[in-house]
């Protein structure tokens, strides 16, 4: 039984603490959230965490000085814009602490990240946003050296410029071949937007050329819209070879720019291989990726189903129907930041509702879109029935033009939100 004096003492201390809670807390160590990866997901999450709770210490670990965005990078391939319009620095991240190192290991038990210079950072919670890495094990003949001849350009930057320069150099009458992987992969409509904008370039600059898409699938995102547009804008220029017609690439030979399929082989003048992918390397190292190579998450908090205290957002995460898009990454980042802020305050995280909107350009003045609304159901992010879908098939020219304008303005808006 405590003495009366002791009880009063505790009560007095509590009242004092209640009256001046923040200065006391600030005098002590703030909880640190470490975010790994400075793309759409990671940079968004770091900024949102500071906006949600200024008492958090937020550290973003990203080795590169600038991020080169993939959305809209197909316009660079077609010579419609420069790579600088795709490039964003981190000066706008405000009071997020930026560490320009590579995270090389995670000790989930101790809550610690090791960087490539040997230093360690402790975290209260860790958010992994490593994006994708190309799964070179999954396609015989394709590796980093082969990618210098048959560019993937699926991470924007030097690969984008390499492919652009190859396209600029081919003769009229040449053959461009690109291959698309099986699901899931970053940006489901991306290969078809790429085909469209390359076709636009060929039609206007090298009209006797041809483009073949070798596809490991029998169906793809916005398919009816793309196919109708190709018929209208690029008749006879694009040939899509689905899985069932022998589209799956089983091997490549970079020396001869040859794609091998079960039905034969195709030699290209310009070859872009979009290979199978998996979550970025640190996700594999941290033990949050499963045997598929992707990271299963809780649909409310984005906490890993494999390692408590680690959250995974953006392209690296899998958790149901949400596609791997920049919009999804940004929306997930904000929901995850809210959940992390709540968990650190010992509050119940709110059930999120997420949106995805994704525009594709078929030509500079011809845009199409898909949208979806998602919510947690049975441990996954499930589509809200009755919502979402693609642009109408019979839309007027003005609507296509409007969607092209929206596509560009969406990119301006989201990059301003993510990178400041």
């Amino acid at each position: 039984m405590p003495s009366r004096r002791a009880v009063l003492g505790v009560a007095a201390a509590s009242v004092a603490a209640a009256a001046f809670p923040l200065p006391q807390l600030r005098a002590q160590a703030r909880p640190r959230v470490v975010v790994i990866g400075g793309g759409f997901a990671g940079a968004s999450c770091a900024r949102a965490l500071k906006q949600m709770d200024r008492d958090l210490a937020v550290t973003l670990v990203e080795p590169e000085a600038a991020y080169v965005a993939c959305p809209f990078s197909n316009t660079v391939l077609a010579g419609l814009r420069g790579i600088e319009a795709q490039t964003f620095g981190y000066d706008g991240l405000g009071d997020v602490g930026l560490i320009r190192k590579r995270a090389v290991a995670v000790d989930a038990e101790r809550g610690r990240v090791r960087l490539n210079d040997g230093t360690n950072i402790d975290y209260a919670r860790l958010v992994l946003a490593p994006g994708i890495e190309l799964n070179f094990d999954a396609l015989p003949g394709y590796d980093a050296a082969a990618a210098e001849i048959m560019p993937h350009a699926w991470k924007a930057g030097p690969q984008t410029l390499l492919l652009r320069d190859q396209l600029a150099a081919i003769q009229d009458g040449g053959t461009v071949i690109l291959s698309a992987p099986a699901n899931p992969f970053r940006c489901p409509p991306g290969p078809y937007e790429r085909a469209s904008l390359i076709a636009h370039y060929l039609k206007t600059s090298k009209p006797r050329s041809k483009l073949i898409i070798l596809d490991a699938k029998d169906a793809f995102s916005k398919q009816r819209l793309f196919e109708a547009a190709w018929q209208e804008l690029y008749p006879g220029l694009i040939e899509w070879v689905p899985l069932s017609a022998g589209g799956q690439v089983t091997e490549v030979d970079a020396a001869t720019r040859t794609f091998v399929t079960e039905f034969g082989s195709h030699k290209a003048d310009v070859a872009s291989v979009i290979p199978p992918q998996r979550a970025g390397a640190i996700a594999q190292v941290a033990g949050v990726a499963d045997q598929t190579g992707w990271c299963p998450i809780d649909p409310v908090t984005f906490e890993s189903q494999l390692r408590p205290g680690i959250h995974v957002i953006g392209d690296a995460a899998i958790g149901g129907a949400m596609p791997k898009s920049a919009f999804s990454a940004n929306a997930q980042a904000k929901a995850c930041a809210a959940a992390v802020a709540a968990l650190l305050r010992e509050r119940e995280p709110t059930q999120p509702k997420l949106i995805n909107t994704c525009y594709s350009l078929v030509a500079p003045d011809y845009g199409i879109s898909i949208a979806g609304v998602y919510q947690p159901r049975d441990g996954l992010l499930a589509e809200v029935e009755g919502a979402g879908g693609t642009s109408p098939l019979d839309a007027a020219k003005e609507v296509r033009e409007l969607e092209a304008a929206y596509a560009e303005d969406w990119f301006r808006t989201i990059t301003s939100e993510v990178f400041g």
Binding site: L25, Q28, F327, R345
Partner: protein, 111 residues
């Protein structure tokens, strides 16, 4: 008790519940955003950006609710908003509209 105790995610270890309650009372508005609300700014930026996608700055909550209903019923033409509005109930729409109608600064944590 230190902040580190708060951060380990171990429930029920706190010796000063009054202090914790005080922290919770100072919770910022952004963290309390209703479901779906924070996704809107992926397309709708501040007015200063001046894009073809309208800014939601300085719209009254009632107007946002009206527009969302018009999108949902098809009364107002849209590219993507009709498809998105169908994913939210009246109650969710109202909560999002009230949150969006706050000044931008109020949606963020106090400095």
């Amino acid at each position: 008790m230190s902040w580190c105790d708060l951060t380990k995610g171990r429930r029920g270890r706190f010796s000063a519940p009054v202090l914790l309650a005080a922290v919770a009372a100072s919770a910022p508005a952004f963290a309390g955003a209703p479901p779906g609300a924070t996704a809107c700014t992926g397309c709708h930026g501040p007015a200063a950006l001046d894009t073809a996608i309208p800014s939601l700055d300085a719209h009254a909550a009632a107007d946002i609710v009206d527009q969302m209903q018009a999108f949902r019923t098809g009364q107002r033409d849209a590219t993507v908003m009709g498809r998105i509005a169908k994913g939210f109930s009246d109650e969710e729409t109202r909560a999002i509209a009230e949150w969006l109608a706050q000044p931008e600064a109020a949606r963020h944590a106090e400095p």
